[in-house]
């Protein structure tokens, strides 16, 4: 029954990105961090035509369900953002660190050459991760690909490897045929 996916192709760049799409909060806002990283292909080469979206809770652990993601007013936190990579395969969101017991950013990846989207999670590093049954079910190397790296600046780095050594662990959800 389900309509199949198809690749985003090479020409989304004039259509899907929009002003402040990647700024879930303005960079100057207190508590603002960057969630950023590079998308790599199976040869370890940065992918210059990928697009990411994130969905997340706020610092209070609550997932906002408010509109305003396209015409951001700079005050309302919608918990959703979109970022195209630059020619070096690098993406960057400005956002808040999600709260909750085992906080993560839900991430979806699109790219030319990728025939359907990929889901993953960028977990916020912290002591609670050891208690998460899903993370505990993974091999250590698979688990490591799902945990963002805290940088001295307070930013979080989350690289994505589509293939090969260190491939990011991608997800399929229960209920998917």
């Amino acid at each position: 029954m389900t309509t199949p996916g198809q690749t985003i192709g090479p020409f989304y760049g004039y259509a899907l990105p929009y002003r402040r799409d990647h700024e879930l909060v303005p960079p100057a806002r207190p508590g603002a961090i960057r969630l950023h990283g590079t998308v790599f292909d199976g040869a370890g080469v940065p992918v210059p035509d990928a697009l990411l979206e994130i969905r997340q809770a706020g610092p209070d652990g609550v997932v906002p369900t408010v509109d305003g993601s396209i015409r951001r007013d700079g005050t309302r936190f919608t918990g959703w953002g979109r970022a195209g990579v630059d020619p070096g395969g690098h993406y960057s969101f400005t956002t808040l660190v999600p709260g909750g017991p085992v906080p993560f950013f839900a991430v979806v990846v699109f790219a030319r050459g990728l025939l359907d989207r990929l889901f993953t999670r960028a977990y916020v590093p912290g002591p609670g991760l050891g208690d998460d049954p899903f993370l505990a079910s993974l091999d250590p190397d698979e688990r490591a690909t799902l945990v963002a790296v805290a940088e001295p600046s307070g930013d979080l780095r989350f690289d994505i490897r589509l293939q090969g050594p260190g491939q990011t662990t991608f997800l399929t959800f229960e209920g998917t045929p």
Binding site: P4, G5, R55, I70, A106, R112, G113, L115, F173, E174
Partner: protein, 246 residues
């Protein structure tokens, strides 16, 4: 240096993959006739997980986000774009058949000559100063969407020698959960290029592949004005946890 594969070579590869044991209802990510997939498909299977937290909530869009005029791709400039004026209309529903209400639909496409308004598109076909090829709308309470546009042209690409993409419109869709996120392409009925196209053919189950093809609907056509196509979209899910199902 080896010569670029011919369409005959690519078609033979497609045919061999279609002869595989289990037809795929979603695109095969490692579909080698689409050459760009070679280094960009995961080789380790995805991990099955119960959706939780933010995954259970789609982003919300409202009337502050989308201007109703964005659903008409033919009125964005001073003049009338060149080409065959069409309407593409349909419904977005979830796997249970329930309408996805007041949710964002985005489209982008080439112009009538098969040219995208994108700096990386070097196809020597003219840019139409009256056509950008980008639209947005929110679905209505029945999950309905409607775009007025120009029928896009097919265009050449570099996958293999003399490779042409069938005419298509890119669609970006959201459901009620983040897990339902979908980007896909809508094709036109009877396009002779569809059978040759490794992107379209990456869905190896023919019934599912045909879900990507709109239907001509004369009831949507308007007298002396435009031709109508209907295309309904069924999202996966909603993805329930075992707890919800009990």
């Amino acid at each position: 240096m080896t010569a670029d594969p011919s369409q005959r070579d690519i078609s033979a590869e497609i045919e061999a993959l279609h002869a595989g044991p289990a037809p795929a209802r979603q695109p095969i990510l490692s579909f080698t006739p689409y050459r760009s997939s070679t280094l960009r498909h995961p080789t380790r299977a995805p991990r099955r997980v119960d959706p939780e937290g933010a995954e259970l909530f789609a982003p919300v869009f409202g009337h502050c986000d989308v201007d109703p005029l964005e659903a008409d791709l033919t009125i964005r400039h001073g003049g009338v774009p060149i080409g065959e004026r069409i309407v593409v209309q349909g419904r977005v529903v979830d796997g249970d058949g329930r309408p996805v209400r007041r949710q964002l639909v985005e489209v982008w496409q080439a112009n009538a000559g098969g040219r995208y308004l994108h700096q990386r598109d070097q196809h020597p076909s003219p840019v139409d100063p009256n056509f950008t090829g980008v639209g947005r709308c929110l679905t209505d309470d029945d999950g309905g969407y409607r775009f007025v546009t120009i029928r896009p042209g097919p265009y050449p690409w570099r996958n293999h020698h003399n490779a042409w993409r069938p005419a298509h419109i890119h669609f970006s869709l959201f459901g009620t959960q983040f897990t339902q996120r979908l980007i896909t392409q809508m094709y036109f009925p009877g396009d002779p290029l569809s059978g040759l196209d490794p992107i379209y053919q990456s869905v190896t189950d023919p019934r599912d592949r045909e879900r990507l093809v709109a239907a001509y609907d004369h009831d949507l056509s308007e007298h002396e004005w435009l031709l109508g196509y209907r295309w309904d979209i069924v999202l996966s899910g909603p993805h329930r946890t075992p707890l919800d199902a009990s």
